[in-house]
Assembly symmetry: C2
DNA sequence: CGTCGCGCTGGAAACGTTTCCGGTCTCGGC
DNA sequence: GCCGAGACCGGAAACGTTTCCAGCGCGACG
């Protein structure tokens, strides 16, 4: 009788037999149903223990219609996606709130767009967090029509709750800071100009300058390619095109800024004395660069966390805002000096 | 007749009815069964399209006994785990091979150890990758007795296939390099001395020195705490204890090394002229530090990738080696100079 | 012309749960 | 002593697949 614990995984029936009760009763014991006598529950639990029984989450999910896991999909041409420190932070935020809610997180870095739709409709997850601005409208339309709760992160689309960063605001903060610092000749460098976030930053930058009566000419805008030294190439191009050289440079992100700094140095221009430089992202390296990089920071973990919270709210049937914006904040460091105005 | 596509999610029965076939036939069409006429298959597929049918992976998994997703569990006291760049790299490697194999990856950063056992026996995953050296033997024993295929990464345990880094080798490589550079007074700094990996590095370091007839005294070994400046504190302690100060320092990892460099600077000791310094990990910052940090590198992504590959092999019923070791490699940069021997 | 084999198909039984619905038992009130 | 009401429990029907097994039609072979 005590050697019942055989090889094959115990099922709820085995437990029922062992405890001398019906399977419904076992289920009740497992689910903290109030309609069960304390003694019976104890006996059942004991039987579970004795048989090393673990209920199949598969069968349960099938019956109950929910899996308790949510998908986190990141669409990216560049695999693997976790290595992108930006996404890593976002996922970190997501992970935190999901873990606390007892949800499991199914991570998927989609290469093909069909994978995303598959994930959405296979029933593997209860909800979906779609991260990144590379997801095209066509996919989003299909996503909207699927019954699965979806929340977009760092991307916005009509009809799907979205959490975005105020990239435009980041651009204008940078512009204002550079203006305050006494900049007069402005430039914008980036790895590429296709990324919607970069475009938004540029747009904010341009608009704020326009507000001060300054126009950003096409030669003052350059993209240098998605490699590690894209910012270098972009900066070099600007330096070749404009004379005298700019004294206020805004880079679409920190890597571009750091790499642009190198180009400036090699060109004999000293940062921040002759050129002020500001980036976006506040990556770890930024603070440890020499000189430390002035940058526009935003709460990446908060971005992921609020997205996750909104999804949980939707799963619970609560309403969530259609669009949430994460604020940005300029952190002044060594590559710009606001007291430079009087020279 | 064409307005069949109603709200409720279509099931395989609906498709069968729509296509005028039996449900078994639909299943066959979906699973590329050879025993089905081409015309029938086409009709079924068309019906699927028309009804926007997507089969439930839940039901399928339940019947078939496999879910096509594997768990990646990282046990860590410090949440969230993806933010640790080391783990991020490892996960990146895992992600790559899993994605290629068509598996989904269920990410779990366990706080409680029971969560790990739950994950292992709930049937949610087909296999488990357990990452990190913080998992205690007691849990591993239980894990071994579970029917689920498990592979350990950066950790080893009798009876579970494991993939580890040759931390001992890393320590001795560092020692040899420092000896070659002419070091005579050695020290070891770390954030803590509990981490098994750090201990292994120290052990390798100590052994290689012993091989050269040099003994590492207790005062030359210090841990400064797990904070950002643990290395700083450790280094300061050593400097206070030893006179004349060491001329060759090995840090258990790069953050500690960087932070130790700061302590050395503040103490008026110039790196590498007066003290040679080497770390482990080759984090991104290392190469961009001034001066660039000499460090011991190993293939973190490969670590994850081989672990994942071994798990896939196990899932396919193939045998895998009980223990695989990832080699390390010293990369010489600015904080050490091998030509320093003659001074 | 009967029968065999073969290509294709459909029905029904699983897989391991939850949950509805009804049943038994006990107990207090009359 | 009977009755109704709870409290507790068990059987069985789902959930949406896969797969076994039997059946059908039909050409070929004897």
């Amino acid at each position: 009788m005590s050697l019942r614990a055989r090889r094959a995984k115990a099922t709820i029936r085995d437990v029922a037999a062992y405890a001398g009760v019906g399977i419904a009763t076992v289920s009740r014991a497992l689910n903290d149903d109030p309609d069960i006598a304390a003694a019976t529950r104890a006996r059942v639990l004991e039987a579970c223990e004795a048989l090393a029984f673990r209920r199949s989450s598969l069968a349960r999910s099938l019956k109950v219609g929910a899996t308790d896991n949510v998908g986190v999909a990141i669409m990216s041409r560049h695999a693997p996606v976790i290595l992108n420190p930006f996404y890593a932070e976002v996922i970190g935020g997501i992970e935190g709130v999901l873990e606390d809610a007892g949800k499991h997180l199914l991570l998927s870095s989609l290469k093909r767009r069909d994978d995303l739709l598959d994930l959405a409709s296979e029933g593997r997850v209860d909800g979906l967090l779609v991260v990144g601005c590379d997801v095209v409208p066509e996919v989003l339309t299909r996503l909207r029509d699927v019954e699965l709760p979806v929340v977009l992160i760092d991307n916005a689309f009509e009809g799907i709750p979205s959490v975005v960063v105020d990239h435009v605001g980041a651009g204008s903060q940078a512009a204002r800071h550079l203006l305050d610092g006494g900049g007069t000749r402005f430039a914008f460098v980036a790895e590429n100009l296709e990324n919607p976030n970069f475009r938004a930053r540029l747009e904010g930058f341009r608009r704020a300058l326009a507000g001060a009566g300054i126009e950003l000419t096409p030669e003052a805008i350059a993209a240098g390619g998605d490699s590690w030294d894209g910012g270098y190439a972009a900066m070099s191009r600007v330096l070749a095109a404009i004379h005298p050289p700019p004294d206020a440079v805004f880079a679409a992100n920190d890597p571009a800024a750091l790499s642009a700094a190198k180009a400036l140095n090699e060109h004999g221009l000293r940062v921040p004395d002759q050129v002020a430089l500001v980036g976006v992202d506040d990556i770890h390296l930024a603070a440890h660069h020499a000189p430390p990089l002035t940058t526009v920071r935003f709460d990446k973990r908060g971005l992921g966390a609020t997205g996750a919270r909104h999804l949980l709210d939707r799963l619970a049937g609560r309403q969530v805002p259609a669009l949430t914006t994460i604020a940005t904040e300029l952190v002044e460091r060594g590559t710009s000096r606001s007291d430079r105005g009087t020279r």
